[in-house]
């Protein structure tokens, strides 16, 4: 208690010290940066999952090849959840003596529970629900193929149904599963028509939606049940892998920004703590001489800092929550439909991390301070001999590592950042040591101002090294955020340019290729990319029939039951990377297949294994020639299994194509659809839009969080300057007494800071470029990322000038120091 009172008194007396204020401000900033980002990321994650829910039409569901027992729906209703029942199946529709295979979804009137379904009636578009009995909704392609319009009748499952509206967009319209034109009918009609009976190809679907906790409870209950054969949970997480991956990249960007801000704040804290410790040396020596035990001295120091830390982290946490709320209210239109509550956990975690940063970065100099011997009251040099606690300087490094690890959520990102920052620190220290070495040698012959500046750098050798290293670390973080991160974001965005293919075509026949290509060009379609597509089944691995094999991975059985999409190519497709074996090229000696990593994991395959597939009437035996890592987020047509063209081209196949068609060209697309009525055209604009929105939103948020980093950078500079201010003032007073002119002092300071800034700026520019390239390649999977070197070098020069100007501004008071100060200090 007494210690607490003493600490409180000590803090009150010392509050005017700039280093304590720097400590407090850095801590607030670290907590704010970490807190805002973590809170936003948590809310965004909920938002993204919620919008994935929009895309499946409910919060969660079960899909099953058989009718689900009634208790699944009953359990959901008991929990107060909304329920919708549905089934999807292929069925042939007839009208005007024409027929068309349709992808039919039968639902009740509650569908969709989440998201919206758009219908066109007359001239306008309305948001609707599942059709009433006797009514069907057909999409544009179905209407065109059957030569129908809204209000006509169509025969489906032997029943005549009235077309109530044109189906414009289903919540899950962006999925790549719609092979044929789509129809939406009432589930009662489907049941009465016998479309859902035993032996039908219907897949039943139960979707539920409601408050998060009953949804979670129902999910837990479902997971505890034995689901019917072949049934599976439909979760938002699995449904939109691409959205998920966009979100993951987004949060990686945000976390990176927050992390660097926190590390910057840590550097500022370390500098301020060291300065504080130096200032306190005499006081501690006196306390020790007067008989204060070491433990009490340490207690007093820790108590003072603790009392500073508690309000700082509280303030930081509150500011973080306020800012997160503010940002959210601006950004919420992205997830407008789903209000998410403000999570408090991340802000609390940020406060704890802030304390860890303070403890980690401030502890070493303070612990050393407690070791100051009482004899230091007589001889200051005695205070400098404390070497025992040098190992403590590993603590901030460890805290930084733990922070990087916990914030990045990825060992790889953590590793890259840690190695890069350590590299930058080492290079900065080496470069500044070199600069000091040169300074010692060139100083005697240099211009007097430069000589004094160089002498000043060389005089404070340790401090100069520390300042250059801290500035380099600060600048590298700033450059990463200010220049490299936007370039990375730009790189990511340019992977999804406005003319990214937004339509997929299935079922294109060999003899239709040329005609389709020409017709598409006339319609304004661009970027046509065609790949062969065969459909087959996996029958054996290494001559062992697949149905006699057992695999740990549950997906293996499912995939061996499925019809697989197979393709072939001579060149490795873009966004594919061979990680084992050799790409087969156009004509290997025997048939070869290249498999995706998921297949390797599912079936335990390796290069050299033999696989047999049944395709049509025949079969193909192929050796696994290579294993590929595929970027499934690239919106290109990709395949798990790619054969060599020489051996696969004779397999029965159709073509799959992707192309870009500007919006508003639907009329010409309808024409195309009529000309090639066998084709399935799939629109992926909805999903692309969603991903683009996320990218844009993230760019905005990163710029926003960048503001904190700039503040943190300024704090580092301020702390670095403050750490030598007292020494500078004393020195300036002495030099003034000895007759130095003010301009001489200013010029010397300008030279000193410009050199310091240049070393730090250049180290940081190259450090940021290297780290950016590494991050771009390894974390953000941005191909051919080139860091903007020119901008970085300019920024390095600008940094030198800014450091010089700030240094001059910071030392303006120093050069005005009255020489009388020296006599007074006597």
């Amino acid at each position: 208690m007494r210690l607490l009172t003493l600490s409180l008194r000590s803090l009150r007396r010392e509050w005017h010290l700039p280093e304590l204020r720097t400590l407090g401000a850095s801590l607030v900033l670290a907590v704010v940066a970490l807190g805002v980002v973590a809170t936003l990321a948590a809310r965004m994650e909920r938002g993204v999952l919620a919008s994935a829910a929009e895309l499946i039409g409910g919060d969660i569901g079960i899909s099953s090849p058989q009718t689900l027992p009634a208790n699944f729906a009953a359990q959901a209703r008991d929990r107060g959840l909304q329920v919708t029942d549905g089934a999807s199946f292929p069925s042939v529709a007839f009208a005007h003596e024409q027929s068309q295979l349709l992808d039919v979804l039968a639902t009740d009137n509650a569908y969709p529970l989440r998201g919206s379904m758009e219908l066109a009636r007359g001239s306008g578009t309305v948001v609707g629900h599942g059709p009433a009995p006797g009514t069907v909704y057909l999409d544009h392609r179905a209407l065109v193929a059957l030569n129908l319009k809204v209000g006509d009748s169509v025969q489906l499952g032997g029943r005549d149904l009235r077309i109530g509206a044109e189906l414009v967009r289903l919540p899950d319209g962006g999925e790549l599963v719609a092979m044929a034109p789509r129809a939406l009918m009432n589930i009662g009609d489907a049941e009465q028509a016998g479309l859902l009976g035993v032996g039908s190809r219907a897949r039943h679907r139960l979707l539920v939606a409601g408050q998060p906790s009953p949804v979670q409870s129902w999910r837990a209950w479902v997971e505890a049940q034995t689901l019917p054969q072949g049934a599976e949970l439909i979760t938002p997480e699995q449904t939109q892998e691409r959205m998920r991956s966009a979100f993951d990249r987004a949060s990686a960007f945000l976390r990176l920004t927050a992390l660097l801000s926190a590390l910057l704040a840590g550097v500022a804290i370390a500098l301020a703590a060291q300065r504080y410790a130096r200032r306190k040396t005499n006081e501690v020596a006196l306390l020790r001489a007067l008989g204060t035990p070491r433990r009490q001295v340490l207690g007093l120091l820790v108590g003072t800092l603790g009392l500073l830390a508690v309000p700082s982290v509280l303030a930081g946490g509150l500011i973080a929550l306020g800012l997160a709320q503010l940002t959210w209210s601006f950004a919420s239109q992205l997830f407008a439909a789903i209000p998410t509550t403000m999570p408090l956990g991340p802000a609390v975690a940020a406060a704890v991390m802030g304390l860890a940063v303070l403890a980690g970065f401030a502890l070493p100099p303070l612990a050393r301070l407690a070791e100051v011997p009482p004899v230091a009251v007589f001889r200051e040099s005695a205070a400098r001999r404390v070497r025992r606690f040098d190992a403590l300087y590993l603590v901030p490094a460890l805290v930084a590592l733990v922070l990087i690890w916990s914030q990045s959520g990825s060992a790889k990102l953590a590793g890259i950042l840690a190695v890069s920052l350590v590299g930058v620190a080492v290079v900065a220290a080496l470069l500044s040591a070199l600069m000091l070495w040169i300074a010692r040698r060139v100083a005697p012959g240099a211009h007097p101002a430069l000589r004094l500046g160089l002498a000043a750098l060389a005089r404070r050798r340790g401090m100069s090294l520390l300042q250059a290293t801290a500035l380099s670390l600060g600048l590298v973080a700033l450059l990463l955020l200010a220049i490299v991160a936007p370039a990375l974001l730009q790189g990511w965005r340019s992977e999804l340019p406005a003319d990214t293919p937004n339509w997929f075509v299935l079922n294109l026949q060999d003899d239709q290729r040329d005609g389709f290509q020409q017709a598409l060009a006339r319609s304004g379609g661009e970027k046509l990319n065609m790949l062969p597509l065969a459909v087959g089944k996996l029958t054996a691995i290494n001559d062992q029939p697949i149905d006699q094999m057992h695999f740990k991975d549950e997906r293996a059985k499912d995939w061996s039951d499925r019809q697989l999409r197979l393709s072939w190519a001579a060149e490795l497709p873009p966004s594919n990377e061979v990680i084992a074996g050799q790409w087969h090229g156009d004509h290997p000696a025997q048939a070869e297949v290249s498999i995706d990593t998921m297949w390797r994991d599912m079936y335990g395959l390796k290069v050299g294994d033999m696989m047999r597939f049944n395709v049509g009437e025949g079969s193909i035996d192929a050796r696994v020639g290579s294993i590929r890592k595929v970027d499934w987020t690239s919106f290109r047509v990709n395949f798990f299994l790619v054969f060599d063209p020489a051996h696969a081209a004779s397999l029965p196949h159709t073509w799959i194509a992707s192309f870009y068609l500007p919006r508003g060209h639907t009329e010409s697309l309808a024409q195309l659809s009529r000309e090639y009525s066998n084709l399935s055209l799939i629109d992926v604009d909805a999903m692309l839009d969603r991903v683009r929105e996320i990218v844009n939103q993230v760019s905005g948020a990163v710029r926003w969080v960048l503001g904190f980093s700039l503040l943190a950078g300024a704090l580092v500079l301020a702390a670095a300057l403050a750490s030598s201010a007292q020494e500078r003032r004393h020195e300036a007073a002495l030099l003034r007494t000895l007759g130095a002119r003010r301009t001489q002092l200013r010029m010397a300071a300008a030279c000193e800071f410009a050199l310091l800034g240049l070393v730090a700026g250049l180290t940081a520019a190259f450090g940021a470029a290297g780290t950016g390239m590494w991050l771009g390649h390894a974390i953000f999977h941005i191909e051919h990322f080139v860091p903007p070197l020119g901008a970085l070098l300019l920024a390095a020069l600008a940094a030198a000038i800014v450091v010089m100007l700030l240094g001059l501004a910071g030392t303006a008071r120093v050069s005005r120091t009255s020489p009388m100060r020296l006599l007074r200090e006597s």
Binding site: E380, S381, R384, P444, P448, R451, L452, A455, R459, R460, R461, E727, H730, E731, L734, L735, R736, T737, L738, G739, A740, R741, R742, T743, Q744, S818, P819, M820, L822, L823, R824, E825, S826
Partner: protein
Amino acid sequence: MSGNASALSGNPSSGAKGVLLDAVDVSKSVQGPEGQLDILTAVSLQVREGESFAIVGASGSGKTTLLGLLAGLDTPSSGHIALDGNALERIDEEARADLRRRLVGFVFQSFHLLPALTAEENVMLPLELEGRDDARARAREALEAVELSARRRHYPAQLSGGEQQRVAIARAFVHSPRLLFADEPTGNLDQRTGQHVSDLLFSLNHDHRTTLILVTHDPKLAARCARQITLDSGRVVLAPRAPAVAP
């Protein structure tokens, strides 16, 4: 009594032959928490080239303030000070700095060596400020003169108090100033070391024909000077032992 200081120290007409420092009716007051505080009141004195002059008095009597004013480190609230014929109150701080660089050397009670510089580098400082190329060679000579050649690469923290003060004396003499101000030069030293340092100071003063103005509360040290004044509460209470300038 103090009001007659000028009469006691003779005619303070500036620019008189051989007069290096001339102070007339110098007062200094500052604004304290309880109103105006007079630190010095109407102090007048003259110091001639080559002379040694002591300012004595108890702590808080205004000795250091007077030294600061005479050396041009601060300006008086009223009165007139001329250093080598230059009226200090009429020139700005930059010009005063120029004068100090050319004419003045300092020795302080707490040495004021820069801790990050070696003994030699500390001595080089005044020469570096003048931009002289022979700084290192002359610094070595100066250190030799104070018998510290062997310790020229040592940092202040590695030197004893007496050694640090000898380095400070070397620094004060290295650029051959015409006027040396010493503020309690032996105040932080034991008697024997203090004696050694003061011997050094007076012998260099004699060899270089430097004018020495010394602030001290040590009567023995003051007695080694040709003249002295005593300050009490900012006023001159005791006249110099001998008139400095013939009327």
